[in-house]
Amino acid sequence: DAMVIQNPRYQVTQFGKPVTLSCSQTLNHNVMYWYQQKSSQAPKLLFHYYDKDFNNEADTPDNFQSRRPNTSFCFLDIRSPGLGDAAMYLCATSRKFLDFPLNNEQFFGPGTRLTVL
């Protein structure tokens, strides 16, 4: 089945120790998103890739970076995790709205739960 895969599902890191979260998709979608979700809150968009066009949200900390080496893969790098970065990180994909105005819903991976000690 076509899907969005995230690895690892659980990640424990130490304060200040860099961590990389990965996402892959078999849906061949052009758009990929990284969200941060804390308990009882809505997903908060960190970045999105519109094809190769990278879009950083204005309030995404510099500590967070992303790479998309090809259509299928996307990475979230947290350079120096702080305690406040502990959260669920969700990767999502979608078709482009302009090409698919009726079918551009987002497909989410299961998420990576990050713990910072």
């Binding site: 809150q41 997903p43 968009l45 999105h48 519109y50 987002q106 989410f108």
Partner: protein
């Protein structure tokens, strides 16, 4: 900035009672999407509304999009324990169709 307000934040019902959550955008939307997130899970797409005044049904769920394409609602008839979760609306801004603007969600608890 653009906002999507969603109310109520929490709703506790007895099984069999109805439930409604409402969303209101500060700007006109190209479409509105609804997602459900079970406890411990990830958001799962439910439906997308595109047309002004559109109404769609999925079994016990009824979705509406306002005439001005600024507000939407989700109504569940005769809730069941399987309806437990957080329901999010998310709108695609007519001026920027690349990313969704998410409501804060309504968390539904159902007593058996």
């Amino acid at each position: 900035g653009q906002q999507v307000m969603q109310i109520p934040q929490y709703q506790h019902v007895q099984e069999g009672e109805d439930f409604t959550t409402y969303c209101n955008s500060s700007t006109t939307l190209s479409n509105i999407q609804w997602y459900k997130q079970r406890p411990g899970g990830h958001p799962v797409f439910l439906i997308q509304l595109v047309k002004s005044g559109e109404v769609k049904k999925q079994k016990r769920l009824t979705f509406q999009f306002g005439e001005a394409k600024k507000n939407s609602s989700l109504h569940i008839t005769a809730t069941q324990t399987t309806d437990v979760g957080t329901y999010f609306c998310a709108g695609l801004n007519a001026g920027n169709n690349r990313k969704l603007i998410w409501g804060l969600g309504t968390s539904l608890a159902v007593n058996p």
